[in-house]
Each structure stands twice: as C-alpha cells, then as structure tokens.
Symmetry: C2
Subunit: 287 residues, 2 copies
Amino acid sequence: MRDFSAGLAHLAINTATLRKQLELPAILEACARRGIRSVCPWRDQVKRAGLASVARQLRDSQIALSGYCRGGFFPAADALGLRTALDDNRKAIDEAKTLGAPCLVLVVGALPGALQGRPAHKDIALARAQVVDGIAATLAYARQVAMPLAIEPLHPMQAADRACINTTEHALDICDALDPNRSGALGVAIDVYHTWWDPKLESQIARAGRDRLLAYHVCDWLLPTRDLLNDRGMMGDGIVELKKIRAWVEAAGYLGPAEVEIFSERWWNEPTEVLLDTCEARYHTVV
Amino acid sequence: MRDFSAGLAHLAINTATLRKQLELPAILEACARRGIRSVCPWRDQVKRAGLASVARQLRDSQIALSGYCRGGFFPAADALGLRTALDDNRKAIDEAKTLGAPCLVLVVGALPGALQGRPAHKDIALARAQVVDGIAATLAYARQVAMPLAIEPLHPMQAADRACINTTEHALDICDALDPNRSGALGVAIDVYHTWWDPKLESQIARAGRDRLLAYHVCDWLLPTRDLLNDRGMMGDGIVELKKIRAWVEAAGYLGPAEVEIFSERWWNEPTEVLLDTCEARYHTVV
C-alpha cells in the first residue's frame, strides 16, 4: 500500500467540498498554494469561472484533474428529455477533454422528476434500461475522443432521485455488457460513502481491476447521519474502514489519487484553511 | 395475485405504526373493531401490557400474529455482550411462542454501540460474522420449539447501527449456510422500504421461495426522505411499486398477510382512526 503519511502526491480535492466557501478559481489557488496537485471540479463551478479560463489556470498552476463531475442523469419522461440528456453528456465530455480530465464521472440519474419531488413514474427498471441506453450512446462518442466514463454507484438511499445504479456489482455488469473487452473506456468511480456497506465490495473491486477502477473518493459515514445528502463526514470521524478499502483498490491495481468529496453543511461553514488543513491531516493519518 | 380490493383478510398492522397513539391493548381493540385480523407487536409494547394478558386478548379477539418484533442485535463488544444477546433472543422466542407468532423477525444488529453513537469498532465484517454465529446459536433453540426465524435485511443506510445484513441475497446466503435443507426454520422478512431499490430483488424473492418467505412488510419511500429512520411513507405516497413486488412474493409462494409498518413522525401525529382508515383504503387500492 502506498504511504500517505508524508507529501500530498496522492491527495485530490473534489471541489464540491468547498463550494460554499469559494468559487473555483480561488479553490484552485488555495490548492496550488498548499501543493495539492489534483482536483475534481463540478460543471457549474467551471461554467461560472469560464471553461477556457479554468483550463488555463490548471495548466499554469500545474494542477491535474482526478476526474470531472459530472455527466449522467440519462432517464427522462419523453424522447426530447432523453435526447437533451445525451446532448448534455456530449458537452460534458468535451469540457472534460478541454480540462484534461482522466475520466468523466457519471451520476446516472433515476426516476425522471424525482429530484424535484415530482416523479413522472415509479418504474425503476425502466429508468435502469434508459441508463444503459444512455451510457451506450454516450460511450460511442467518449471512445472517439478518448474520454473514459466512470459510472459512480450511489448509495441506495439515493436510488429514487439521483442514481438508480446502487451497487458496484450492478455498475460492473453494465461495464461488461457495454465494454466486454475491458478497453478502459468504461469503468467505475468507487466512493466509500456510497459503497462501504456492501458485503460484496471487496470482491467487486477485485473484479473491476485496474482497467475499470477510474476514481476513488473518500469521506466518512457519520453516526448518526442526519441528512440523506449533505451530512457526509470528514475522514476519520465516522465508521468507514478507509485503509482497508484503499488496500482493496490498490491491490486491484488502482494507483490514482484519493479524492476527498465531502458534502456537509457542517464543513461548508468552516473556514477554507481549517477545512483543507483537516483534509490534509486526515489524508496523512486515516485515509 | 390475490384480490385485496374487498375485505381485510390479508391486512396486518405492525403495531409500531401506532406506537405514539396507543398502548398495545388499545391497538388490539381498534383492530378487532375493524375486523383487522392480524398484527405484529413489538416486545416493548408486549412487556408494558403483560405477556399473558396480551396472549389472552389475542385469543379472545381472534387476532393472529403476522410476526413478532423483534429478535436480533447479535454483535457485541465482548463475550458477556454476545451471551446476553443470545439469552435475550431465547426469551424473544419464548414470547413469540406464547403469542402464537408464525415467526420471530430478526433485526440482526451491526457495530456494537453504534446505535448509541459510540461504536466500539468499525469492523463490519466482524459484526457480520457475529450475526451468523448468533443466528446459528439461536436457530438451535428455535428449531426445538418450532419458531421460525425471519432475517430482515435492512436498508443499507442502517448498516452501521441497526442491521449489517442489507440485501436479500446476503440474508439468503446465510439461510443457505445455516439451513441448507430449507426446513422452514430460517427465512427472510421482505420489507419493501428496505429492499425496493435492489436490482436483484425479483430474482432473490424467487430464490427465497415459499419456504423462506416468512413475512412481507409494506409502506412507501417518500421523495424527499427527510430522516433515515422515521420518515416512512403511507403506501401510495411514494415511489415503491407495491403491486409489482407483491406479485413477485406471491409468485414465489408467499400467501401470508401484507403487514403495514410505518415509522413516521407525521403519521404518529394523526388520530388512530384516520391512520387506520388510510391503511385500509390503501390496502384495497395500492398494496
């Protein structure tokens, strides 16, 4: 297992972690000052800052991407919605390319309208079929431009409204179906928050292997968890066995960064430097 | 599929649904008045009312049990805790026997101390091993007295603190290991709230079959869900495909009642008759 106790070579910051404190250019400046060498930005943050400007800042500050958040949300209630989602994913791929991302992370979507509290239907099997079709269509373009797609299985508590792919096994079944030759064009993003509970996690990480392990996200599961979306914990503050899971992903061949992705009302209210100090300290000790 | 549109023959009420409104004797009276013919009481409710008294009231009012809640919570931080859990499960079996329950529902437990916010450790694999050992030891006594044990897989969002068995597949793997001959002594309780999201639910229900489908619980998954424990929805108010899942359990051979189990701050604040009226109406139309 790699030694994280010194240096920051394998630390990445998902920029949603600081979305309430700073705009993206300031986040990148803060990371550059500290010697944090990779980030995973979100599309809305990039849009506000300007794609070309962000690309330039990344180059100038020699910050790499650990991924780009996010494509997906494929299911829709009608043909226009399905088409719009595909167009949007194509744009996300182009942006990821411009920024030099190693992969586009896919939060695949679920029941159309559910995130707005008005689900168009309850047929999760239909949503799942639309996800597979959407990934298949997007993959054709992603292959052309060589941008790997990383399916992120989300926690089952988000199955209705955010992502109807909820286990690593299910995500890998889709990879097997759409990319049977393991070309590297399609894989998974393993986020410990979404997957720690899965009794098959170790075996499915081994199954994924280096070809399909495209991203690794860390935070923690708090006791009690008070919100289904924005109560993620800082690494070490919850019950996730972070070193055990990292050992599994590294044994399977993953050598990319550990990306800190914390959606937390608590941490969004902390000063930037306190939050980043804590991320670094926990990276050295518990990740 | 059975017709639920008239009569109440297949409706059961899990008495936690009314735990803030009434004590158990009054819940049983309300059910008897309405012609609801089965309930699943909780141990704390039975204890307050007195075991012998509840048994007598059930006989007198000809109300059957759909199950008994609950055994389980096997993991512990030390040998004394493990032994105490086994003793307590033995007592639960005896109570279930006295009340004429068709099964004892097991909420298996998870990280010891987690429910109190002070987990003794983070090793979920250890907790899972202790669960298997605990069920094995309890099963020996349950067989002697002919009280089937129903493992209830809980939603993965409750994996750390309430039950570390979170998929029907995992529960059935344990059934296969401990009761390979499918004697009927060990099976599962399928609660749609905990399992609706599972892409393998249909296939695992079929795998369970009549021998292992010991209970079927209904409520609904709300959008948004605001609490990880006490925000269950009334059937029809959320996105669970209730009739589709009931078709699966009936096709697999389950012919017991549909048991309404709603933990909800909202419904606990409604008058008893409004809540039971609604349960009956939804039983007829959407369950």
